[in-house]
């Protein structure tokens, strides 16, 4: 149960992943803050989801940093899987029912407004988590 290996886990490209997550968290939090303050009544559902997405990005960023602990590793999985589901479901809904979901948010139109980073990032995040299990869980 040595922690030397696990502490070295947040190295390499994983750190870039965390920073991209942090930037996305900042961007989506800022945007949903403005949306809710300025025009919440235009699309309450879409903007609530926008805020939820922002919260999940913050959680995912935190969980990735702490992913070497087993509890947080699970949180990271759940948060990132939730994000992937969110971007696919809301992305599809924004095309099918633009009245309800066709408003700017990280997830609408599969994250087009963010260069599709919201679509690609969770896939990358899940891959990273798979290849970086906490010591002692699966080994």
């Amino acid at each position: 149960m040595s922690h030397t290996v696990s502490r070295a886990r947040m190295t390499g490209i994983g750190r870039v992943l965390v920073i991209v997550y942090a930037v996305m968290a900042l961007a989506s939090t800022g945007r949903s803050f403005v949306q809710i303050l300025r025009r919440f009544d235009e699309a309450p559902l879409a903007y609530s989801l926008s805020a939820l997405a922002a919260a999940v990005y913050i959680l995912a960023t935190l969980a990735l940093v702490l992913a070497h602990r087993r509890g947080w590793y699970t949180v990271a999985w759940v948060a990132i899987a939730f994000e992937l589901t969110g971007v696919i479901v809301v992305g599809a809904l924004s095309l099918l029912t633009p009245v309800l979901f066709g408003h700017d948010s990280v997830w609408s139109y599969f994250g087009m407004g963010y260069l599709f980073i919201p679509l690609v990032l969770p896939v990358f995040g899940l891959w990273w988590l798979r290849t970086h299990r906490p010591q002692g869980e699966s080994a």
């Binding site: 490209i13 870039v16 920073i19």
Partner: protein, 122 residues
């Protein structure tokens, strides 16, 4: 905002971003050059803050939402500070890549700020 100043800044941010990503992928640790390139972008951002305060008073008001603009600008000003702190704490090649990612994010955010200022109708 002032269009030519924003375009210059976007060009600098893109150049700094690409430079840091290439340097990082080539295995360089954060250096005076890579950190310095991001600090140059930061200086321009601080200039942009001053411009954003003075411009509305000097007959150049934004057409878009000023609140949304400031959320972007404040976030943008904070990003290089965070990235540089990270680079000083963690002196590996990946920190250089991170500086680059931040540079490119800033370019996108600046573009968005210009759009809010001139194109968006609040």
């Amino acid at each position: 905002m002032i269009l030519w100043f924003t375009i210059t800044q976007i060009a600098v941010a893109c150049a700094a971003g690409l430079f840091c990503i290439v340097a990082g992928l080539a295995g360089r640790r954060p250096s005076d050059w890579t950190v310095g390139s991001l600090l140059l972008v930061e200086l321009l951002l601080i200039a942009q803050v001053i411009v954003a305060i003075i411009a509305p008073l000097a007959g150049n008001p934004p057409t878009g939402d000023l609140l949304e603009f400031w959320v972007y600008l404040v976030s943008a000003v904070l990003l290089p500070i965070g990235g540089t702190a990270w680079a000083l704490l963690d002196r590996t090649r990946w920190s250089t890549v991170i500086l680059g990612v931040i540079g490119l994010s800033l370019a996108i955010m600046l573009w968005r700020m210009q759009a809010i200022w001139t194109l968006q109708v609040a």
